[in-house]
Amino acid sequence: MSESTAVLSTPPAAPPTARILGLHLGVLAVLFALHFVLPDYHHISLSRIMVLACFAMGYNLAFGYSGLLSLGHAMFFAAGLYAAGLVAQFADIAAPGGFLIGVAAAALVALTLGAIALRTGGVSFMIVTLMFAQAVFLIIYYFGTYTRGDEGFVVPDAMRVLLGLDLADPTVRYMTALALFAACLMGSLALARSNLGRVLIAIRENEDRARMLGYDVYRYKLTALTLSAVMAGAAGAAYGLLFGYVGASFASIQYSIYPLLWVLMGGAGTVLGPFLGTVLMFYLVDLTSAATTAYLLVVGLVLIALILFFPKGILGTVRERYLPWLP
């Protein structure tokens, strides 16, 4: 929104590549190891969290790194979800193809609606993305003959197969989710440390100055938004194929706000923050809902407390105080 949104600060020192690589590969290794030790419920939940974390990482590319505060990212998630689900339902296109079509659909939405929305900035951008997402949500209802509107539909089992492996199998699902997660995580890391990432941060910090350094700000933003949508769409497509359900609630405004919350909680503009935020939000809801029906009350209070005391999110604060090299 405002130009003073220093959601993060980048490391002043030359980034210690080995340490950074070690940390992120270490996280992936731990996630791999957890497959063998986690109790079933947490094993299933972590599969889902990893997929949703890809959504959050995609959001982080736009919001955390490029300063694009979108309130409509559900449209990208839904584009992936519905494209993958509908081709499975009506065209007998199974997992790998459906996944790619889902990703392509999200990219297409970004390159059309996103390209229009990027003509605006600041608060207008928030509202335009919100409106576009709302239109996508209503379009899903409008074509209820195919989408079954709010009810949604079940992705046929026979389509949920990847390279001969059944995606409904817990191990296959976990490993598929982990692979997608690893791709998004390492992709985010590479991007954050790339020349492109540096330009995106520059645009976030001071758009006008970036332009006067000769950067075509619009094109860079569109690139960022498209990459962001690709991750969100990949998460959506994977969600539909791994968990077997496609429904309009995933296109509702809630699902535009969730990734914002996850990213803010974990730390905007940090590579691991979105994942951390997704994990914490999931368990916050899960544990409090077991204890009280008023779990949303707890979630609300936690959000307020976080923003009051950890405004840069958890990893943003950690980076500021302890680990300045954290990407």
């Binding site: 220093a6 993060l8 600060s9 980048t10 490391p11 002043p12 020192a13 030359a14 440390r193 790339s194 020349n195 492109l196 540096r198 330009v199 941060i201 520059a202 910090e205 001071n206 006008d208 100055r209 970036a210 332009r211 006067m212 350094l213 000769g214 950067y215 075509d216 700000v217 690139t223």
Partner: protein, 254 residues
């Protein structure tokens, strides 16, 4: 209003930039009013004038930050009037802001790397981190900030931030460097160092300088253009401008 004729040298240097009838209105207000302006390759030109004369608007038109209401701009013989700001930068027109606007959250080095990177980038991905950093460090060394490369630029002193701006200008290797009040807020020693720096810089680039500090103007400029109420009031060598009555009236007579 007749322009003071410039000192004639042996040969006519090549034209770098030219404007014809350049105008810009804001509502009913005319900030720049039909300016014809020529800049030769290699010179250091100062642009002076009382407050509200339209200096910043004029250079903003040159850099493409705002669009002209009328008139045309040619750079190196090609019409750039319709070109967007970033594309003009790519042609070699660099602009440093009047208000310091470095990327505060990034280190000094990364600020300059951004300036270098655009020039060396083809497509979305550019040169290696190491080569960028090396070139950035040499630019920082030239402005005397080598020791502060790793500091977050927001933590630098004001004077250092101005120097960083210049280093970013250097990193872009522009053909035309437009500096908007670069010495504002600097101490006397900093100003002296700055003059030396611009002199050195002018060997590789044409410089257009908006400046209030007459000491800087007289010490640096080959020629001076005086703007008043959006028009060119006078143009010529420093001594000629100093002697010009119309200029004195504009400045002193109010």
């Amino acid at each position: 209003m007749a322009a003071v004729s410039g000192t004639e040298m042996g040969r006519e240097p090549e034209l770098l930039l030219e404007t014809r009838g350049l105008s810009r209105h804001f509502g009913g207000l005319t900030a720049v009013d039909g300016v014809d302006f020529q800049l030769r390759r290699g010179e250091v030109r100062a642009l002076i004038g009382p407050n509200g004369a339209g200096k910043t608007t004029f250079v903003s038109l040159l850099s493409g930050r705002i669009r002209p209401s009328a008139g045309a701009i040619a750079f190196e013989g090609r019409d750039v009037t319709r070109l967007k700001a970033h594309a003009r930068v790519a042609r070699g027109i660099a602009y440093t802001f009047q208000i310091t606007s470095v990327f505060q959250a990034l280190s000094a080095r990364e600020n300059v790397m951004l300036a270098v990177q655009r020039r060396l980038t083809r497509g979305l991905f550019g040169p290696s981190h190491a080569s960028l950093a090396a070139e950035a460090d040499s630019a920082l060394a030239r402005v005397g900030l080598a020791g502060r490369a790793d500091e977050a630029s927001g933590n630098l002193s004001y004077g250092h931030q101005r120097l960083l701006e210049v280093a970013m200008g250097l990193g872009m290797r522009p053909r035309l460097l437009i500096l908007d009040e670069p010495t504002q807020g600097l101490s006397d020693e900093e100003v002296a160092a700055f003059i030396a720096l611009i002199r050195e810089l002018s060997e590789s680039a044409t410089v257009l300088l908006i400046e209030h500090n007459m000491h800087v103007v007289m010490g640096l400029a080959d020629r001076i253009t005086v703007l008043d109420r959006g028009r060119v009031l006078a143009e010529g060598a420093p001594e000629a401008i100093r002697a010009d009555e119309a200029v004195q009236r504009a400045y002193l007579g109010g």
